[in-house]
Amino acid sequence: MLGVLLVLSAGIWQYANRTADISYDRLLTGSALAIIERIRSRNGQVEVDLPYAALDILSLAPDDKVYYVVSGPDKQYLTGYRDFPSPERYTPSASPVFYNTDYLNEPIRAVVVSKRLDDPGVSGWVEVRIGQSRNARNSLSNEILLGEIAVLVLVITLALASLAFGINRTLSPLNQLSRTLRERRADEMGPLPDTDIKEVKPLIASIDQYRTRLQSNLDMMQVFIADASHQIRTALSSVQAQLDMAEMEHDKDKLQNRLALIRNQHRKLTRLTSQLLTHALVAHRRDTNQFQPVKLDTLLSAILTSEVRDHADSSIEFNYSNTQRDLTIDADPVSLRECLRNLIDNAIKYGPENNSITLGIDVEAEQVKIFVEDQGPGIPDEMLQRAVLRFERIETGKNTLGSGLGLAIVNTVTEAHGGQLHLSNRQPQGLRVELVLPRRRI
């Protein structure tokens, strides 16, 4: 701000000096013209009758000294201050020429004017030089300078003050908001108090929206945990009961039956535990941001290979569709693998015996779509929207524990990669799930 003031002041200083010079230069010119008008030739002699007005005009600058000299043709001295300086390089001319000089140890502003005399016996340029000390100019220019700077300082001060006031006023709803948020209890959920300030309204709406989403996530998580613990307990107590009964069973065939039941329960429990751990893992990796360049071809091939190996005894057909062998994106390979395995597992789970599952990549300019297609029953069109929501929000219900967790994993990974989930039905049948990831930071 001081810099701005200095630059502007320098400008004003220039302006003030020029204005002062222009004002007082007019007086000088008036005086010089009054004198030159009185130069006459008389009997072959050039004479000047110095008019009273010449010095009277200049006494409008009341404290300034004045020096003048009048010379005739051939620079012949006529009257005045004989050694008063001329400007450098002067060609006689009827229009006044101003110059700065020094005389009797004082800075002087001077003007020179010439006139052509062509009278009998006398011909040539006569010249008047008249100079004035700079007191009045300096005080006028100081007056202008100080006046303008005072205005400038005032304007800058007002601008700063109104800026400060404005900022304060604009930010006060934010302060209010942060106070409200600070003082709120964690479980208090109602909307925030409304504000009159248009610019702040969207912020409050966003905060409210965010809090609603957070709350519903928390609610779902609670239901999920309650559900999961219920199922784990149920499975554990079922295994326990089967074990107790198996202990008392003496019939070998029935024992075999019991053992088969126990193995089945145990497999469910293992899968449940594994998914819980996987979910915890992907959530942790999301929070710690473990991104690295991932060559998708390698990753997808590995997943598919392992799936083929796991389902070697079924009649499911696995396909792989990828033309971009070298495509590399920034991603977390571990989470991504878990996510895709879950999608494939879902396809297997809900598909027919002779399912045909395709894992592939579509590449567009800004996006990479990793998709899983199956030949299962798909989802009725009117339910597709709901299904996406279901993916995005961990809505778990009875009997869907496994897929519920699987969807939670898919959802967490998609979110962590800044991507989106697309569901669509295929013709004549089947479901296509797309993981749309942005292509970035490669």
């Binding site: 004479e47 000047v48 009758d49 110095l50 008019p51 009273y52 010449a54 010095l55 009277d56 200049l58 006494s59 009341p62 404290d63 300034d64 000294k65 004045v66 020096y67 009048v70 006529l78 009257t79 005045g80 009797l104 140890n105 004082e106």
Partner: protein, 361 residues
Amino acid sequence: MNITIRAAIVCLLSISSLQAAERRIDSDQGFEQFTTSKSVKRLDIYSATDTRAIKPIIEAFARRHPYIDVRYNEYESTTLYNGLTSGKITGADVVLSSAMDLQVKLVNDGHARTLNIPESIDLPEWSHWRNEAFGFTFEPVVIAYNKASFKDTPVPSSHESLVDALRNDPERYYEKVGSYDIRLSGAGYFFATHDTVVSSISGRILESLARASSHTYCCTSDMLDDLVEGKLALAYNVLGSYALARARKDDRIGVIMPEDYTLVMSRIALVPKQTDNFAAAQAFIRFLLSKEGQQIIASKSNLIALRPEVTGPSSIAAISEKRQLRFHPIKIGLPVMTFQDEMKRERFIREWSQLFDARAP
């Protein structure tokens, strides 16, 4: 205690030495000098003012400042100006002169020092320039006359009526009018030229004076002498201070302040660059302009005080005697230099001489 006693003694001594103020004429150098006391600091006043007129104020100053040894040196105004500009006169601490144009030129040409005169000293706007030149008297330029010559007819009371009287009554005025010889007197030149600035009939005045074969003089006092003796009936453009002082003592003389306009000149004080005792010089000029100094001028000197608030025989109030007068003070400043222009001066004197040299022998 010691100091107080000594100061008192010095004070007594200076007053006694004042009373025995030595006065002598130094004929070799053509100036008059007197000394008030012999003390520590020396203040040299170089002046083109009649010593008798200025003496009371210098004595009063010396009484106020016993440690200052005041020397007063009287010069003719042109000699003083030339001496100061050429460097032939040195050692001046204060310069007093009635030649306003020359004093202003000294200031313009950088020979004077800036003074600090307190705000409390309230001076008329016209009476000072640049804080360097300060007028300290108020001296109208008047017409003086011999009362006996005007027993039967009114005295011309304005420039206009003077011109008419000279034309209509030539016998009465023939060789009975006196005025300055502007070639001999700076003051005479100054008054004549300022008539041309103020009045449109100045040319006719000069013509009428020339036609009446008026006598020309170097000085106001000579004209007053001839008025007293009856050699002159009327003297034009004389120094009002001297004429009024003479009229107070001698009732054969009367003074007219022209009704249309009365030029007013002022003696100017300045401190030259060459001073080696600036403090004392400034103190003297402050005293000169102070109410006390002005009161002394108004009551004890033949000069007329500048400041209107003082009283006494030579105060503005006393000389105007409640009449409505058109005083036209000549402003101290650049314009008075106009007639000091060489060529202008030459031309004015040439024209004046052509008029006055053509007078009947």
